[in-house]
């Protein structure tokens, strides 16, 4: 899907009342997910994870280990899904692809001078091209938050559209870095800009800035996706990333997706978790739910 909109076609964004958002989020959190719903939800969470390593000290060894884990979440337990994707820097795309490709696991690459985005457009385009050429299925770009906060929304829009051009068949996730946008009104505006500029997914955070994927932020972005769908009939995906480290929080994310967007979005085609440590907590919950016995982290491999 390539949305072809011009900046002046981005509709005005509704204002957001943060207190109201917090109340709404509390309602999602009061949903009680038990028994069969819990088990189904937990497995869904696993299948939606973008298992991530994005560190300056990443090495081939580290990436190799993580990629193996992506395909073998917990060998002691048959019938578990694999994760949706691994997420790495462009330099690791080729390696990652060679390991996980055969399991149907996608390779996502951050790009556009991740995480700051402070580079000229041609550098960002080159960065993206490199990742795509090395086999990235998905591109996780960052927006220029400085430009956004300076009011240069057109610039942000054009940049996203330019990156979308070079993605080719790779799906584009646009990282808003909500922790730097400071208000939910900004989050909503940035979401609308990203969606109309051609994002296949919108994503909360790089994982480098706190706060990251709070439920309030994710809810606000889901509403933007909902409104776009209502206006155009086109689906956009959502990826909260950073800060989702336990199963309960992940399940409440799914509750939000179900109630705001609908069950059509409850698949890793349209919803992802960007996380490095979520998988093990979910695995522990799955085993606990099956056996009734509380689990220890010692029995679940780190990566």
């Amino acid at each position: 899907m390539t949305a072809k909109y011009r900046f002046n076609e981005v509709p005005p964004s509704p204002s957001i009342d943060k207190v109201g958002v917090e109340e709404r989020v509390k309602r999602f959190q009061s949903r009680s997910i038990k028994t069969t719903a819990k088990m189904q939800g937990l497995k869904m969470v696993l299948s939606m994870i973008d298992l991530t390593t994005l560190e300056g000290k990443d090495t081939e060894g580290k990436v190799r280990q993580m990629c193996f884990k992506a395909a073998h979440l917990h060998n002691g337990h048959p019938g578990l899904p694999v994760v949706a994707a691994v997420c790495v820097y462009p330099s690791m795309v080729g390696l990652a692809k060679s390991i996980v490709g055969k399991y149907g696991i996608k390779v996502a690459s951050v790009s556009t001078a991740f995480p700051s985005g402070q580079a000229p457009l041609d550098v960002k385009i080159a960065d993206t091209k490199y990742a795509v050429e090395h086999g990235a299925d998905e591109i996780d770009m960052v927006i220029s938050r400085g430009k956004f906060l300076a009011g240069e929304h057109t610039f942000v829009f054009d940049e996203i559209a330019a990156i979308k051009e070079v993605c080719g068949s790779a799906r584009l996730k646009v990282i808003l870095e909500t922790g730097e946008l400071a208000t939910l009104d900004n989050v909503r505006r940035a979401s609308d800009i990203a969606i109309y500029a051609g994002a296949d997914f919108i994503k909360t955070s790089t994982g480098k800035i706190q706060p990251a994927a709070t439920l309030q932020v994710t809810y606000t972005m889901l509403q933007a996706i909902r409104d776009f769908y209502d206006e155009t009939g086109k689906m956009v995906g959502m990826k909260p990333a950073g800060g989702i480290s336990n199963a309960k929080l992940a399940l409440h994310n799914l509750v939000m997706v179900k109630e705001v967007l609908g069950e059509e979005w409850l698949t890793n085609k349209w919803f992802r978790f960007g996380a490095s440590s979520l998988a093990n907590d979910v695995l522990m919950q799955i085993l606990k739910t099956e056996s009734g016995i509380y689990q220890s982290a010692d029995y679940f491999t780190l990566d």
Partner: protein
């Protein structure tokens, strides 16, 4: 993509009722003792979810009411001599005991009234506890509330409460009455007596002197006897406007002081510059909270015409995610209608609306086969002159009207005999204050709806009643 593969339904998550402690049969709580009704008559309190019997409750007649009032009058002599600080400490005790039993109270409330456990647990019971806690602290500070006015307690307060917030209403009534040094005879609604009786047990356990609080259960006759009793110096009533008027007629010419908290048909107004998704949530909270059994429910929605289509689309979508069903299920958003009678009343209004030809919408959710249930319901493009837009339905039924200008919507919102509450949704501060000052309503929620707090006075204009409950001003109702 296939929706089927992604289907994810919330499994049952039923709150356990194994820890609740209910007697098979309840007497009347008079003068610190549990006594049999002199009529020897009992009636059944049942669960509106499955229509099953829960417990037998006494039917108090005139003699029983007289016994209770006499006990309260006798206790008043003692209670008014106890130092204010000590009086406050008893009320603090009640608050704490309620907090300890909060979960049990929540489950009983949900069973007996049909309200969702989530609301009983997160809203009704905590607010009820907090109400006692709030007013306890006032007992020895009354001279700060009304400086230079030398206020005094009234004597015996006769209190009659409705079935929509059984324990919360009991707290709203009893806590300020005790804090100001009055004694109490309280009559709960006949369909929801149980948490008031549990409260009687708590009050008994608090060691408060006998007769300071008396609880008599029964029907309308019991309430009428209480209103008419010559030794009652104060009537506090929450319920329908019709009954409120009857009470006013009964006490005309007497020196009885009254506070009436009656019906409403409150306007919830959405402007085109509102935070729209939060406004939609406010509409939902406004009308579907407690099955719409809320006197201040935002039952008349006014949407600015240029965003009406969008708001209604969003509203319908949001409504579809409301779970209707077993009140004890933690995921239930809308529980059972309190009684068969009330369900009939609601159905009758829905029939009228359909006949009048307004656009009608109900959600698709499946309803339990047994019990008293009603789907969340909308009527779109309703005229101001429609019965639906004028009369209080007291159920999950919302009427939607559109408007073009600020002046128009103020006029339409005020064009009602009621004046309990109103909601205003806009991002513009000066517009908010224009509306909040012009709307004839006792409570105005701006960019929020159906919020309650012990420190916040509540009560209406016009036929929604008079007097305030809650907050500093709520003390005034129990002083002269």
């Amino acid at each position: 993509m296939s929706t089927k593969n992604n289907a994810w339904e919330y499994a049952d998550s039923i709150e356990s009722a194994s820890h609740i402690n209910l007697r098979k049969q309840y007497g009347l709580y008079i003068d610190g003792k549990w006594v049999k009704p002199s009529s020897n008559k009992y009636f059944s309190s049942s669960n509106p979810h499955d229509e099953k019997h829960i417990a037998d409750v006494s039917e108090a007649n005139e003699d029983d009411v007289d016994r209770a009032v006499q006990a309260a009058a006798k206790a008043y002599k003692l209670w008014s001599k106890i130092s204010a600080a000590e009086r406050g400490k008893y009320i603090f005790r009640i608050a704490r005991l309620m907090q300890e039993q909060a979960r049990e109270l929540a489950v009983i409330e949900s069973l007996d009234s049909g309200k969702p456990i989530r609301e009983a647990r997160d809203i009704d019971i905590p607010l009820a506890c907090n109400h006692f806690f709030y007013y306890a602290g006032w007992a020895d500070k009354l001279e700060y509330a009304f400086p230079n006015q030398q206020k005094k307690p009234l004597g015996v307060a006769g209190q009659i409460i409705p079935w929509n917030f059984p324990l919360l209403m009991a707290a709203w009534k009893i806590a300020p009455a005790l804090a100001t040094g009055n004694t109490v005879v309280l009559k709960p609604a006949e369909t929801t007596s149980l948490t008031a009786l549990k409260l009687a047990e708590i009050i008994e356990a608090s060691g408060i002197p006998s007769g300071v609080v008396n609880i008599v259960t029964g029907f309308g006759d019991t309430g009428a006897a209480l209103v008419a009793h010559p030794k009652v110096s104060k009537i506090a009533f929450t319920g329908s406007t019709a009954v409120g008027k009857l009470i006013q007629k009964t006490i005309a010419g007497s020196n009885k002081k009254a506070t009436l908290e009656l019906g409403g048909k409150s306007a919830n107004i959405i402007f085109d510059d509102a935070p729209i998704d939060q406004a939609v949530e406010g509409i939902i909270n406004g009308i579907f909270f407690n099955q719409g059994h809320v006197c201040c429910a935002g039952s008349r929605l006014f949407v600015q015409e240029n965003i009406a289509e969008k708001v209604i689309r969003k509203l319908k979508h949001r409504m579809q995610s409301l779970q209707v069903g077993n009140p004890l299920d933690k995921n239930t958003d809308i529980g059972a209608i309190n009684s068969k009678e009330q369900l009939k009343i609601i159905q009758r209004y829905i029939d009228i609306g359909i006949k009048e030809g307004s656009e009608f919408f109900q959600t698709d959710c499946a309803l339990p086969v047994q019990g008293y249930y009603c789907r969340p319901t909308l009527f779109v493009n309703v005229a101001q002159s429609s019965i639906l837009a004028q009369e209080e339905i007291f159920g999950p039924v919302l009427t939607i009207q559109t408007f073009r200008t600020v002046d128009e919507v103020i006029q339409k919102a005020n064009n009602s005999p009621y004046g309990l509450a109103a909601g205003v949704w806009t991002d513009k501060g000066s517009k908010i204050f224009n509306l909040t000052s012009k709307l004839k309503a006792g409570v105005v929620w701006a960019n929020t709806y159906n919020k309650f707090d012990p420190s916040s006075p509540f009560g209406g204009y016009k036929e929604s009643g008079f007097g305030r409950e809650g907050g500093l001003h709520g003390l005034g109702a129990y002083l002269k």
